[in-house]
């Protein structure tokens, strides 16, 4: 099999994803750098497996854009776990406890902030939503790992009773990441729309300032 280097293309979905998450001013330069490296250095050496290299690079850009948000989500989940196991309270059905409300609003703020920031940065609504879902997934699994570490450190009868009293083991393991992604999808959309509108307004005002 011969590979025509100048016209070899990386996976279209990976290139679209990369361009989606970059700022408009970096979209051509960064995707061009990766394409040049892929064609000039990677395809001649790795041949048919060059696509894997390209996908790995795109994954590293996605991870750079989302890991910090994922850590915030995980920190909120671990904080709630520690509060429920160290300072347990009796949950009354139908009554929202203060800690539940604080956690919910902290997660809503994080998801909205993540979506808004990325929609503003990339000027793409889809980027805001997609990167928030990825951040929620990372946060969900990091949070689960954090709670597992806490559970490994302290798993006496009192801790287990406190976990049962706050929703049971399944709520945290392994249900939490799925719940977080669903919650992120619902709550990030207003943030993404706000970020996109702010981006457009900023571009409009910058263009008017330059032309004035």
């Amino acid at each position: 099999m011969t590979i025509d280097r100048p016209t070899t293309l990386p996976p279209a979905w990976a290139e679209s994803l990369l361009r989606l998450l970059l700022r408009p001013e970096d979209r051509d330069s960064i995707s061009g750098d990766l394409l040049e490296e892929y064609r000039e250095s990677i395809v001649p050496v790795l041949g048919a497996t060059a696509n894997r290299w390209y996908v790995r690079q795109v994954a590293s850009y996605v991870l750079r854009a989302t890991w910090a948000w994922g850590v915030i989500v995980a920190a909120i989940c671990v904080w709630r776990y520690l509060l429920d196991t160290l300072v347990p309270i009796h949950y009354t059905p139908g009554v929202i406890a203060l800690r539940s409300a604080v956690m919910s609003w902290a997660l809503i703020a994080t998801f909205s902030g993540c979506a808004g920031w990325h929609a503003w940065r990339t000027r793409h609504l889809r980027a805001g939503v997609l990167l928030t879902l990825i951040a929620a997934t990372i946060g969900g699994y990091l949070g689960m790992a954090g709670r597992l570490v806490c559970l490994a450190i302290s798993h006496g009868p009192e801790t287990m009773a406190a976990i049962e009293g706050s929703g049971g083991l399944f709520e945290g393991f392994p249900g939490a990441p799925v719940q977080l992604v669903i919650a992120a999808f619902i709550t990030c959309i207003p943030g993404a729309i706000a970020g996109r509108i702010a981006g457009t307004a900023y571009d409009w005002s910058s263009a008017n300032t330059k032309s004035a």
């Binding site: 100048p6 970096d26 330069s29 960064i30 750098d33 490296e37 850009y61 750079r64």
Partner: protein
């Protein structure tokens, strides 16, 4: 207070200084790989370039594309005077740490 540059930031700035007018993204990460003698993720270099530009140590402008990049523009970087100052300070700090020692180091004498 002087800006403290990490070793990766120094490698990126030095690569740009060496490349002069040809300092665009891919050439820079090739230069950094050559200097550090290890594989470098393009994402790490792009993130560092962005950070250094925000710190006011670099400036950039878009150039033309080439067929191998599907015509996509290259972004060319230039080290600003503040960047040169920061590099000089980083080099002086390393020299200061090593002053009085012969390199390479020989095995340290036993404490016993």
């Amino acid at each position: 207070m002087a800006l403290v540059l990490g070793s990766f930031e120094q490698a990126v700035l030095v690569a740009i200084m060496r490349l002069q007018d040809d300092a665009y993204g891919r050439a820079i990460f090739k230069g950094v790989e050559e200097r550090l003698q290890r594989d470098v993720a393009p994402g790490a270099v792009h993130a560092t370039l962005d950070r250094l530009e925000q710190k006011g140590l670099l400036s950039s402008k878009l150039g033309s594309g080439t067929p191998v990049r599907a015509g996509r523009a290259r972004r060319y970087y230039r080290v600003k005077p503040a960047g040169v100052r920061a590099l000089n300070e980083a080099r002086a700090a390393v020299d200061n740490i090593w002053r009085g020692l012969k390199w390479p180091l020989v095995k340290a004498r036993s404490m016993a």
